[in-house]
Amino acid sequence: MSSPAHVAHHAPQGFIRRYIFSLDHKVIGIQYYFLGLFSVFIGVSLSLLMRYHMVNPNVSVHWFEKLWPTAATGGVMTPELYLSLMTMHGTIMVFFVLTTVPQSGFGNYFLPIQIGAEDMAFPVLNMMSFWTTFLALVVMVSAFFVQGGAPLSGWTAYPPLSAAGRLTGPGEGMGQTLWIVSIAIFCGASLMGAINFIATTLDLRCKGMTLMKMPLTCWTWLVTAILGLFGFAVLLAAGVLLILDRVAGTSFFLPAGLYINDQIIANHKGGSPLLWQHLFWFFGHPEVYIAILPGMGVTSQLLSTFSRKPIFGYKAMVYAILSIGFLGFLVWGHHMFMSGMNPYSAMAFSILTMCIGVPSAIKTFNWLGTLWGGKIHFTTAMLFALGFVSLFVTGGLSGIFLGQPALDLYFHDTYFVVGHFHMIMGVAAIFGMFAGTFYWFPKMYGRMMNETLGRIHFYLTFIGVYAIFTPMHFLGIVGNPRRYADFTNVQFLGAVIPVHQFMTYAAYATASAQLIFVVNLFWSLKKGPRAEINPWHSTTLEWTVPSPPPFDNFAGVHPVVYHGPYEYSVPGAERDFIMQTDPPAVHAQA
């Protein structure tokens, strides 16, 4: 059993207890952040390799052969190698970047401070959760180095491909097994994290911090934790069944009469590949919100701060977050319109999917309402928050098309879907992370990041991601299939090859622009100008403590909250912001 927060009160001694096996939620948050940074480096590298291959499928590259002697003989990638890069790109990005950084990284660091707690509810569990995630990443990456290489079955691991074993492809032996083991470990880690987030939010808030006085970031972390709790529990169960099909000869997902690579699969019968899809997407759809909700929280926080206005419709925002979370569990079927489901079921899933448009629109209009008439400060953090809104709207609109069964039948296996989910789940969430980084960096490290580099990085990235992902929608309309390693020999796609070339160059440029961020991050860590306690004139509790905060966050003082989280430009107040901890009487009279 994990010890409650008060036990781990005194600061730890020694390097290992302080920085490696630390119980401090702030150190653990930073560990998660850098785990995500490492993962995103791998994930982006893989995508660049894929983009290169798509436009140069037959060009021999010397070091491909060095890296993959069997899968890239003569320096030319096999289609199987391409699929393994795609699988690992998706998996690493979704699990180890999008799930990890916004929630476990920023959430770990700032949830306890924003609600006025000394630490998470269960610090030991918190530490275990990080190291279990680390183990999952090690197992996942090791799939590259086993015989046959990484798996081919995509981040969704659909059976029979993922279940029938070696003969379905080179990465489907040990690589696929490691994939499932890694995901199962990751599920365990996420469940531990969810327990901590929920217990901390519900029980460790300081005096006066009612639920409706919490910053919206805390609301999104809470709802994300609840989604993770239910989602990862189901994925864990599904993963156990899948691995048993592979190693124990069961037939949960494998039907009879499979004929794969000139061989009949004799030992299995009666299983249902669709059963996996249902279980997977029951997790998979909430996973989209796990990735995006914390970004929404950060965006709300930043739009209010940098417009110097209260968030428009705080309560509506909270209810929108809750209903997005709730509805997120009812729409998994819209990922399976292609599976031959009953049209009535498809209709039901489609209507429920449209329902999510309502809270999403509420959030978007409230963001615009927040900006309306505000004194907008275009800091880098604010730019990324605005970029988030833009990408969320763009990605959300294409979702309306995909939510129609009739249209989805056409679009589903095309680049339209790739464009859609990269916009809304990938890039929007990553913009949320950038926004959070620029906003909270001064608090985390006591130094400011460079705004000029930040702005250059923002504009290059913002234009870059639109240049990469907007053309994908057109490719989808043309009928360009996704997951193909090479379309150069497909006659009807001849005309769109230049579009692919453009996207590849855009990807190179955008990825290169990220180096500016990396330089800015590490340079600012060492050389950035010292940050004051509250450089952005924000109102929430983390801006009342030194930068970086002391070990127990409030140096033994128990904060008391009197104000809501977004009291900006209150008429009659001395300053244009009122801290949550400011005594009420000072500002009571106008």
Binding site: I195, D203, V234, L241, F252, P583
Partner: protein, 214 residues
Amino acid sequence: MNMAGALTHDIIQGPPAPPVDRGWGDGGGSDGRGADRRACFTGLFVLLAASTMVFAALTSAFIVRRGLSDDWTSMHKPPILWLNTAVLLASSVALDLSRRALKAHDRSRFNLWWSTGTGLGILFLLGQALAWRQLRDAGIYIATNPSSSFFYVLTASHAFHLLGGVAALVYVDVQALRLRLGPAKRTAIDITALYWHFLDGLWLYLMILIFVWG
């Protein structure tokens, strides 16, 4: 009241108390007494929700797999399962008697019943292992039939949860026998007992699932 007046008022009397709500909206604070105990209970309920979801997922897989195919033949169930069920129920009863003894400040009876409950819990696990052995000897393996596949998966998942429960039971028992059962450990006792009762209920549910549809 003007600003100066308000400030003077604050300096003399301190700022007015923040509004107090009840329940989760309270913001009772990490300094508030009982926050850690409350957090432990919340943590436990969240864990139980996760476990419930794991078994809900397995149940839905069970129903779908059974309904979709024609290869499901009901497997032979080892009769020892009934005995195991009785043992597990008895362990729950023992834990409850134990907690009542603690409320009546009867430490020695607490120790006796808690140790009994722990022993019965371990006995249940051994009984489950015996059931698996009997199945193995009868030639029923995990891949023999979907019915047996689900039997092994469900009982193993339950046993995995139970291992954690036994570890907690043993921990409390050791603390009790070493006379280290201060008020801080009461939370551990309550949490462990509650978790154990949950596993007990879960097992009854699995018995119904296995015997009625398995």
